[in-house]
Amino acid sequence: MLPSPHSSSSSSEEKLATMEPQSPSTLPVFHIENVSCFYGRHKALEGVYMDIYEGKVTAIIGPSGCGKSTFLKILNRIGEMESNVRVDGKVQLLGKNIFARDINLNLLRRQVGMIFQHPNPFAMSIYDNVAYGIRTFHRLSRPALDEAVESALRSAALWDEVKDSLHQSGLALSGGQQQRLCIARALAVKPKVLLMDEPCSALDPIATLKIEELIQGLKQQLTIVIVTHNMQQAARVSEYTAFFSTDERRIGQLVEFDLTQKIFTEAEQPSTRDYVAGRFG
C-alpha cells in the first residue's frame, strides 16, 4: 500500500463486505472505501463504500444536493479544479491509490474520462476536438491520427453525421451531436472508465435516446459510471445502481448500492423504495 495523506486508516477494510452486491465474476475497477468530502468546513459527503465493476454501467441516483456529482468528480480528481475540496478516505483505481503522492493527475484523467452536464466542445474543428486528447500524449503521423479520430467518432456514433464536415467548428453542431462529440473526444484517448455527469440533462428526448443507445454499446469497451436525475434512465442503461441521499444533517450519504434490478424492485432501505417510487425528492 502506498502512503497517502488522504486515506484514513485501512483498518475498516472489512466493513466493505456489508455494502458489496453479489457479483464475484469480475474484479472492481474502482474500490472506494470510507470516502468523505468537504467543501471548506462543510461536509458534503460521508462514509461512502462502493466497488465499481469492470465492463458494467453503474448509475448513481438521488435527490439534488445529495453529493452524487461531488462523488463522481472525486473519481478523476477533477473536483479539485472547481473548488477548494478535500477528500478523506481511500479510492483505488485498479489497485492503485489515486490520492498517492506520486500520482500523475494527467495520466489518471486519461484513464478515467469524463462527460459533463453541458456539452463543452472546444472552439475548434470537429477533427481537432477529437484529436486534442491524442495529441496531448502522442505525436502521431497524419494517417494514424486520421484513423484514430475516425475510430473515436465511429465509437460515439457520430461518424456518419460529420464525416463530410470534419473541419467545421465543433460548436456548430446540435446539442446532442456536441455531447456525442465530447464522448468521441473522451474515447479517443482510450480511457478505462468513463464518468458521465448527467450527460442528457441538457438534451431533448431524441438526443437522450441516442446517448443511451451509445452507452449500451460502449460497455463492451469500458466501464461507465453515470450520474442521472432520471430514474427511468438509470433503470434502462445500468447494471448497478447506487442511491445517494442526504441525512438530517444535510450531509450526503450512500444509502444503498446493488444490482439495478434489485434497487428498482426490492430495495432493502425504505428511503430507496420511496425514492424510486417517486414519493421523495
Binding site: L107, L108, Q111, I134, F137, R139, Q220
Partner: protein, 334 residues
C-alpha cells in the same frame, strides 16, 4: 467482455509519471518543449513573470531613491518647502513646482468634474436615446487616445491664442481679485488647468458612468413609482448612490492631472515662482523634469530632479491608492 484486468505490476505504473505504458500504436515522441517545460516549469515561469511585474514599483522607488540620494542627504525634508532652485549655486527647493502641480491639477478637477458627471449621466441614464448616447460615450473615450504631445501642440498654437482674449477680459474686469491680478501674456496656470481638464475628462466620465450603470434598476424604479421625475430621480436618488464612484473617478483624474507632463509643459510657461494669480505662468514637477533632465550633468542636480520624481511618484501613489479604494468600495456596496 472487453479486456482483461491489468496485472498489478503494470497497473501500479499506469498512473505515475514514470509510466511507459502506451496503448496507442505508432506513437511518436512529444514535442521537446512540452517535455522540457512540463506543468511545473510552466507554472514557475508564469510565477516568475508575476513576481517581476509585481516588483517593478519597488524597483522604481529603490532606483530613483538611490540616484536621488545626494539631494536627499543634502536637503532632507525641507526640500519640500524651500523656494529656490538655482543650478549655478546648487540650491534646490521643490515648493514652486509642488505649488504649480497642485494648483493646475485643482483647476482641472474643478472644471472637469461637473462636465464629466454630466456626460456620465447623459450617457448612462435614460435621458437621451441610445443613438445619441453611444457616440457621445465613444467620442469622449477617443479624447483619451490622443497623445498628450498632440494636445500640447494644439494648446500652444491654437488654444492659447484663442483663449487669451478671455484671459484679458478676466484681468480687466476681475483684476481686483488676487487670482486674476497679473497681466496675461498667453501661457498661464489657467491655460494649463483647462488643457488638463480636457485630458482628465474621459477618466472622470468613464468611471462615473460605470458607477451610474452599477446602480440597480430597482432603486430608480422605486423613485419613479413615488412620482419623481427623471431628473429628480437622478439628483436625489441615483447621484447620492453613485457618489463614491464619482469621487473615485475624480480622484483618479486628479492623479492623472498631477502626473501629466507634455501638454502642461508646453502651455504653462515654465516660470518657477509662486504667484497666486492664475493668469501668470508657472511650472510643475513634470514640467521641470521634462525641461531639465536631458541637460542635467551635476550629480546633485540629477539628484534633486530624481528627488522631485520620487515625491511625484509617492503623491500619485497615495492619490491613486485612495481612488482604487473608493472605486472598490463602490463596487462592494452596489
Amino acid at each position: 467482455m472487453g479486456f482483461a484486468v491489468a496485472p498489478s505490476t503494470e497497473s501500479s505504473s499506469l498512473l505515475t509519471s514514470s509510466s511507459t505504458d502506451d496503448s496507442l500504436e505508432n506513437a511518436g515522441k512529444l514535442p521537446f518543449l512540452r517535455t522540457l517545460l512540463g506543468d511545473g516549469g510552466f507554472k514557475s515561469l508564469t510565477f516568475v513573470a508575476a513576481l517581476i511585474a509585481g516588483a517593478v514599483p519597488f524597483f522604481v522607488v529603490a532606483l530613483i531613491s538611490r540616484d536621488a540620494w545626494p539631494a536627499i542627504a543634502k536637503f532632507g525634508l525641507p526640500f519640500l518647502w524651500e523656494q529656490d532652485w538655482n543650478i549655478d549655486e546648487s540650491i534646490y527647493g521643490a515648493l514652486p513646482y509642488l505649488f504649480g502641480s497642485l494648483v493646475s491639477a485643482f483647476i482641472a478637477l474643478v472644471l472637469a468634474l461637473p462636465i464629466g458627471v454630466a456626460i456620465a449621466i447623459v450617457t448612462s441614464e435614460r435621458v437621451l436615446p441610445p443613438w445619441v448616447q453611444i457616440p457621445i460615450a465613444f467620442l469622449v473615450e477617443l479624447i483619451a487616445a490622443i497623445p498628450s504631445v498632440i494636445i500640447g501642440l494644439w494648446g500652444v498654437f491654437v488654444f492659447t491664442p484663442a483663449i487669451n482674449p478671455f484671459q484679458e477680459f478676466l484681468y480687466a474686469r476681475f483684476g481686483w481679485l488676487p487670482i486674476f491680478n497679473t497681466q496675461p501674456f498667453g501661457s498661464s496656470m489657467l491655460v494649463a488647468g483647462i488643457i488638463l481638464a480636457i485630458m482628465i475628462l474621459p477618466t472622470i466620465a468613464a468611471i462615473s458612468r460605470e458607477a451610474f450603470l452599477a446602480i440597480s434598476a430597482d432603486l430608480r424604479n422605486g423613485a419613479f413609482a413615488l412620482g419623481a421625475t427623471q431628473w429628480e430621480t437622478i439628483i436625489f436618488v441615483t447621484m447620492p448612490a453613485a457618489i463614491s464612484g464619482i469621487l473615485g473617478g475624480a480622484t483618479l483624474g486628479l492623479g492623472r492631472a498631477l502626473g501629466e507632463t507634455m501638454a502642461v509643459t508646453m502651455v504653462i510657461g515654465n516660470v518657477a515662482g509662486i504667484d497666486f494669480s492664475l493668469l501668470s505662468p508657472g511650472s510643475t514637477i513634470p514640467s521641470i523634469l521634462a525641461n531639465q533632465f536631458s541637460e542635467a550633468l551635476d550629480p546633485l542636480h540629477i539628484g534633486a530632479l530624481m528627488y522631485l520624481a520620487l515625491v511625484l511618484f509617492l503623491i500619485t501613489l497615495g492619490v491613486n491608492s485612495l481612488a482604487i479604494f473608493m472605486i472598490r468600495f463602490l463596487s462592494r456596496n452596489a
